[in-house]
Amino acid sequence: MGGQPAGPVQPTEHAYALWEKRVDALLVLLSRKDRRLMTVDELRRNIESLGPEAYDKMTYYERWIHSISQTLIQRGVLSIDELGRRMADVEARHEKGEL
């Protein structure tokens, strides 16, 4: 996006939420040399593939966890089915106050 027209820079920052820190940690741990299950280039490619509209609607770490999950599916570490079922399970546990 270097050089594209854009507005003033708002000097914003926020204290990262725990879930955001966990996403960050997942990427760091998956990228480590002893694992090599992800590279920054896969992170970027799977974010690019969101397209500009989705990109702008999502927060930074939302884009990251999307990209991490896509990379793990592409690499055969996770399947779409198990991820979908687990997310439904997580949501159900959250509803019941178990999470």
């Binding site: 820079v9 820190k21 996403v23 940690a25 992170l43 702008d56 106050g97």
Partner: protein
């Protein structure tokens, strides 16, 4: 284990038990699901995730500031830092980053500023996690093309006599700006100087802080 961890960060463990009215977003559910599956598959452990978060929480610009303050008082150290950033980090007791650190020096004639136009590459092991604005579309789009205007928005008006050098950190190096040592600090100790080397001055969107008069 993850449940325990969830509550770890809060002041009131019981009040933060997420109840059914607290919204769990789609992507938050995705994070929990991915993490649980990776732990179950033995790819990583919940403890590793916790330790990694603690490690990042412990990092802030005070680390980079140690290098800057040392460079301000020791010109030979400064030369080593400009030649080999990672060794210079180790010299002041910091860990060697996973990336090659390139330190760029501000002078009265040249000002440096760092950006990553492709994502958010940042010397995070020396400065902590990057602020939101560093990752924003506006900063990344504009600072490469109109750096002087962007610096002005940060309150930094550079004279026309100063050359601006933008460093687009897109690949395998990480960059840190060595800001100019503020005037009036000649007798200051390294520790005291370190407090003037702010995060923003090491990104290059600000000068080092102005010292309080003695």
């Amino acid at each position: 284990m993850s449940e325990h961890h969830d509550h770890h960060d809060h002041d009131h463990p019981h009040a933060t038990l997420p109840d059914a009215t607290e919204r769990l977003t789609y992507y938050q559910a995705m994070e929990v699901a991915v993490r649980e599956l990776l732990v179950e598959k033995g790819i990583l452990t919940a403890d590793e995730v916790r330790r990694q978060i603690e490690d990042m929480d412990g990092r802030n610009a005070g680390l980079g500031a140690k290098m800057v303050a040392r460079a301000w008082v020791d010109s030979q150290y400064k030369q080593r830092m400009l030649t080999d950033g990672n060794s210079a980090a180790e010299e002041v007791g910091l860990d060697h980053g996973a990336y090659t650190l390139v330190v760029v020096e501000n002078t009265p004639a040249a000002h440096n500023v760092i950006v990553c136009t492709l994502c958010s590459c940042y010397p995070r092991w020396l400065l902590g996690l990057p602020p939101d604005w560093y990752k924003s579309r506006n900063y990344r789009s504009r600072v490469v093309r109109e750096p002087r205007a962007v610096l002005r928005e940060f309150g930094l008006e550079l004279p026309d006599s100063v050359t601006v050098r933008v460093h687009d950190s897109t690949a395998d190096m990480r960059y840190l700006v060595l800001p100019l040592r503020p005037a009036g600090t000649e007798s200051w100790s390294e520790d005291r100087l370190a407090a003037l080397a702010t995060r923003d001055s090491m990104i290059g969107v600000a000068l080092a802080a102005t010292p309080e008069p003695d």
